[in-house]
Structure formats: C-alpha cells, structure tokens
C-alpha cells in the first residue's frame, strides 16, 4: 500500500483504542448536561501501555450515502469494538453486563450473583 493511501486509513486503530476504553475503563459521567470528570485520571483514557496488538482489516465496500461512495474509517470502529469486548466477557463468564465500563468490581458482582 503506498504511503499516500495508508494515511486515509490511520484512524482505524484510534477507534479500537477508544472502544477498549469505552468498554473497560472510561466512565464519562454527566449530570444535567455538565461533564463530571475534571481530570483524565477520573475517566481513564488508555495510554501506550494499554494497547493490545491491533490488526486492522479494511473492508472496501461502496456506501450509497457517502460522497463518491466513501465511508468513515475512524471513530466508528469504537462502537462494535465495545460490543465485541462485552460479548467476549459474556463468553468468558456466562453473564451479560450491559453497564459500561465493565470494571473488575462489576464482573466480581456478576459472578457472585450467578
């Protein structure tokens, strides 16, 4: 893949990292429209040490709505990533947790109540 073409796909890893944060560590709470966490440590954003190996697979498909058939490749990846993580947890422990982020204490509680 040429250098120029590669640039159009660089957002896809961002979505995976965001999805992992969304499902496992971030807790962006808001009250009456105001965002509550004031610092990053109150809403755990993932750092370089938290990323697994990511193998992006580009699916080239025509989008009837996008300009010239174009589709977004960045943050949209976050949505199925979070769902995949939640499904993986269900596969592992046999309990569905539908409240994000899925933190160790929620898993512990779900296992106890099983």
């Amino acid at each position: 893949m040429s250098e120029k073409k590669e640039y159009t796909y660089i957002g896809k890893r961002r979505g995976v990292v965001m999805g992992l944060g969304y499902s496992l560590t971030e807790n962006l709470r808001s009250e009456k429209g105001a965002v509550l966490p004031r610092v990053f440590s109150d809403c755990f954003v993932r750092g370089a040490l938290d990323i697994p190996e990511i193998k992006p697979i580009v699916v080239t498909a025509n989008d009837q709505y996008g300009p010239f058939g174009a589709k977004g490749v960045g943050e949209a990846v976050m949505v199925p990533t979070a769902a995949a993580v939640a499904n993986a947890i269900y596969d592992a422990i046999g309990v569905r947790i539908k409240d994000l982020p899925i933190t160790p204490d929620k898993i512990f509680k779900a296992l106890k109540e099983k």
Partner: protein
C-alpha cells in the same frame, strides 16, 4: 505577588523577562517567550502534552514553577528542527502517520528524543513504557510506536531517509 526579572535559556537562546514567582514553566514558555508549540492538555500533569526537556530531562512544564528552572537549558519543540531541516524523530512521525490533530505531538516528540538519547536501541516495550505518560486520543498509539522505532533505526544508521 511582585514581578522579578528572570533569565531563561530556551533552545540555546537567552531570554530576560519579568515574571511572578507562582507562574508555571508552561505559562512562561507560551506567554512570555512566545514559544507556543508546547501545549496545555490538562494542566495537572496527567497527559504529557506540556512536556519539555530541562537539561535534557523530560519535564512536565505545567507542574514546574518557572523560577525553579531559571538559567537551565530548556528545550521546547521549536528547538529540534535545524531551520527547515526536521529532526529525524519529526521526520519519522510525519512519514509514519503518527500525527493527526498534532496537539499531543510536541510532548511525544520531546519524550522520544529523551528516550533515544538515553537508549538508542529501544525495544517496543521500552518505547511503550517511555511514552506511557503521554496521552493521545487521535492515533491509538500504534503509529506513534512505529514512528519511534523507525526513528531509532534512522538515527543509529547515522543518516536520515
């Protein structure tokens, strides 16, 4: 608090400016020295966007009182390129697509320079550990790590691609 005239050395150039004792290094760099490449991401030392080098050591400028580094050698992102000639780390970041919005980039690049000055041949784990204190929301870190490893290879070969 009353202002004092203090001498700062940034990127090899001497500045004399009147500052108040409670000012952070970040405020002085951006507002007094007009070096706005260094960014404020969180203001509380959690994101690494404000990283500069003080006597070669990476420092969170938002958590450093400016007076504490007077007359020390400060390196900001503006100090890396040699005119239009980018530093190998900068070249690698551009080549490998490690820059998206660019806000975290100065911090990452200076942290990388500090890493490679100390460890010219880091492993991927070494790189991730060194950059653990720099947060990025745009890239997902993968390209940044690739760029750093490529930069270390470039710099070891003694040339630039």
């Amino acid at each position: 608090m009353s202002k004092q005239i203090v001498k700062f050395i940034a990127n090899g150039r001497t500045y004399e400016t009147a500052i108040e004792p409670q000012m952070t290094l970040l405020e002085v760099i951006r507002d007094e020295l007009d070096l706005t490449g260094t960014k404020c991401g969180c203001g509380v030392g959690e994101c690494g966007a404000c990283t500069v080098l003080v006597d070669g050591r990476p420092t969170l400028s938002c958590c450093t009182l400016a007076m504490s580094v007077k007359e020390k050698n400060i390196t900001t992102i503006e100090g890396l390129a040699d005119g239009a000639n980018l530093h190998p780390v900068q070249k690698a970041f551009v080549k490998y697509g490690a820059v998206q919005c660019g806000y975290c980039t100065p911090g990452f690049i200076l942290m990388t320079k500090a890493l490679l000055d100390e460890n010219p041949d880091p492993t991927e784990e070494d790189v991730k550990e060194a950059l653990a204190g720099n947060l990025c929301r745009c890239t997902g870190y993968v390209k940044i790590v690739e760029a750093v490893l490529a930069a270390s290879e470039m710099m070891q070969k003694g040339g630039e691609n």
